[in-house]
């Protein structure tokens, strides 16, 4: 999942290119003319004050919201305006602002649903012989146990997801996304509502994934974590991109300081 193939090493550095993205909700301008890139193998941060349009950008990229105009090129293909399941099939998997798990499924089943779509999930396979899908199912189960072990969460494998704490749900959502072996992981406030220790644990996992070559675009308000994890960072305000760079560069950008970081750069 995480090792870079020779083909990936030769691929263009930019995995996602967002150009002139705009979205209106009735008369409300949520995003206007947003332009930025996400380079392969980075965690690109997306920060800004409430109402800046960060989550709307995630929703537009993932197909959950309808754009007014603009373009989103992903790995050589225009994906803007496609439906969420079509976007996901390009290799873009997202997490949600509110942890969005399948409460009536166990943690392990949540992970199994995360695997890339396969023939055994079709109704024809369900009405055929179990032998037709059980082999692949066993492989997926082994993969899911492997992910659970890496996160140290084997103990909750057979718990219903609805019985988990908010932090555990975040982890389940992240593990489920990893089962899909995404090319790009969209993280919408992955630390929101999570205890400080668990947030650090999630941050460690994200760094491991980045070091192994995974690309992520992350909306986050906790700026210490953004500084630790993300480079570059895109700052949004009032629906548009204000600046882009490392956190050190942004702290010396007066416009960014005025709009979001606040006086003195202490967060």
């Amino acid at each position: 999942m995480t090792a870079q193939s020779p083909a990936a090493a030769q691929a263009p550095a930019t995995l996602l290119h967002v150009e002139g993205l705009a979205c209106h909700f009735g008369g409300v301008l949520a995003v206007q003319d947003a332009t930025f890139d996400v380079r392969r193998g980075t965690i690109t941060g997306l920060i800004g004050p409430n109402g800046a349009g960060k989550s709307t950008v995630i929703n537009l990229i993932s197909g959950a919201a309808r754009p007014t105009r603009g373009s989103v090129h992903f790995d050589g293909a225009e994906i803007l305006g496609q439906r969420p399941h079509e976007v996901a099939r390009h290799g873009i998997v997202r997490t949600f602002q509110q942890a969005n798990v399948f409460g009536g499924l166990t943690v392990l089943e949540n992970l199994l649903v995360g695997a890339t779509p396969w023939r055994g999930e079709q109704i024809g396979a369900a009405l055929g012989r179990k032998r037709g899908w059980s082999g692949r199912e066993t492989e997926l189960e082994a993969g899911a146990w492997d992910v659970l072990r890496r996160f140290g969460l084997e103990a909750i494998a057979n718990d219903y997801a609805r019985a988990l704490s908010g932090g555990q749900r975040r982890l389940v959502e992240l593990m489920r996304a990893l089962m899909a072996r995404p090319k790009l992981l969209l993280l919408d406030e992955p630390m929101a509502g999570v205890s400080p220790s668990l947030a650090l644990s999630i941050a460690d996992r994200l760094m491991e994934l980045r070091d192994a070559g995974m690309t992520m675009l992350m909306v986050e308000h906790e700026l210490r974590l953004v500084e630790r994890l993300c480079d570059p960072v895109v700052v949004m305000a009032r629906g548009t991109v204000l600046a882009e760079g490392s956190m050190a560069q942004l702290q010396s950008n007066q416009e960014v300081v005025d709009a979001y970081l606040g006086g003195g750069g202490g967060y």
């Binding site: 993932s62 197909g63 959950a64 439906r83 969420p84 399941h85 996901a88 099939r89 998997v93 997202r94 949600f96 969005n100 798990v101 399948f102 409460g103 009536g104 499924l105 166990t106 392990l108 089943e109 949540n110 199994l112 649903v113 995360g114 890339t116 779509p117 396969w118 055994g120 999930e121 079709q122 109704i123 396979a125 369900a126 009405l127 055929g128 179990k130 899908w133 199912e137 066993t138 189960e141 082994a142 146990w145 084997e154 494998a157 057979n158 219903y160 019985a163 489920r176 899909a180």
Partner: protein
């Protein structure tokens, strides 16, 4: 035991089987996929009507005392297969109208409205299903070939119903235990998360609407071929809630729960009230059926929303599946473990 009682009990067993097929079909749609199909009885009625049209001769053969479309006089088992096919195909327009672009609660309202429209249409268009009078003289399967007593034919029909139950069980069990069934349960919990993982929730819901609709159609076909009549007044929207009540009482997402619900609600309650001594004004006992069914539904929704036999947890261990058991065993195991 008198032959009259045996005849009655065999008829009851046939009705139980027919209800079982219908309830398992609804369980696929509502129990697994979370579709509030308040038009479910329309699928059953359409299957029944299709079976009638496929089995009946053209209206002229009966002196045109009733009017209907077609009359194909097809041999067994084609009317039943046609019933299942029509029930399944009906899911496509209903699904396109009621499920696209609508949230789950509005889907339920749209389904209910479709059910009311279907009833109104059937009763108003006399050329379609002979109006409110409905259809009669529907031939029973193999009735012309078998020269047996009414009780003997009941046993044969019970065998046919049991065979259809086995088919329905095989379909429902195959779906509920498969990765496809797991996806349906995921759609029930979060459509947006399923879509974000690369699956089309609309397509998933449509496929299970077709599968459940086919089972509803089959049950309708069996019922019509057993009672040899079809009338729009027998397929009104409260019948849908009878099936929902059976599923909620027995336990949705669990085939054994559906079977228990079929036994307790459409058979148990109706038969118990049927044998109450007459009291009050005429029709009071029939009305009490619905009072008891409604009270049952409310009590279970308040105090035991997962039913008597809840959906079982799929427990897996490293290195292979290890199910916790089914039905009652799973409930008892869950209690012992103190788990949900």
């Amino acid at each position: 035991m008198s032959s009259g009682l045996i005849y009655y009990l065999s008829g009851l067993a046939i009705l139980l089987g027919i209800n079982l097929i219908a309830i398992w079909g609804l369980d696929l749609q509502f129990g697994l996929a979370g579709i509030n199909n308040f038009a479910y009885v329309v699928f059953q009625a359409a299957g029944g009507y299709a079976a009638a049209l496929f089995a009946l001769k053209p209206a002229k053969a009966y002196g045109s005392f009733e009017t209907y479309l077609g009359g194909f006089n097809l041999p067994f088992p084609l009317p039943l297969l046609g019933a299942a096919l029509v029930g399944g195909l009906l899911a496509v327009p209903i699904g396109l109208i009621a499920m696209r672009r609508l949230r789950a609660d509005y889907q339920a309202m749209a389904m209910l409205v479709l059910s009311l429209i279907a009833t109104g249409l059937a009763q108003a268009q006399t050329g379609l299903v002979n109006g409110p009078t409905g259809l009669a003289l529907i031939p029973q399967p193999l009735a012309g070939l078998l020269h047996v007593s009414p009780l003997g034919y009941n046993w044969i029909f019970l065998g046919l119903t049991a065979a259809c139950c086995v088919i329905a069980w095989w379909v429902a069990r195959g779906i509920s235990r498969s990765p496809y069934g797991r996806l349906l349960r995921a759609v029930r919990d979060s459509e947006s998360a399923v879509a974000a993982l690369g699956r089309n929730p609309d397509a998933l819901r449509m496929t299970v609407l077709i599968a459940g609709g086919a089972l509803a159609g089959l049950s309708g076909g069996l019922l019509v071929e057993y009672v040899t009549a079809w009338g729009p007044a027998s397929w009104l929207y409260p019948e849908t809630f009878l099936f929902f009540t059976a599923l909620i009482v027995g336990g949705k997402g669990n085939l054994a729960g559906g079977a228990l619900g079929a036994l307790l609600v459409p058979i148990g309650i109706i038969e118990v009230t049927r044998h109450l001594p007459a009291f009050g004004y005429p029709g009071l006992i029939d009305s009490l059926d619905w009072v008891v069914i409604g009270a049952f539904l409310l009590v279970f929704l308040w105090f035991r929303p997962n039913g008597l036999l809840p959906e079982r947890k799929r427990v897996l261990r490293p290195g292979g599946a290890e199910p916790a058991g089914t039905g009652l065993r799973a409930v008892l195991a869950g209690r012992r473990a103190g788990s949900s």
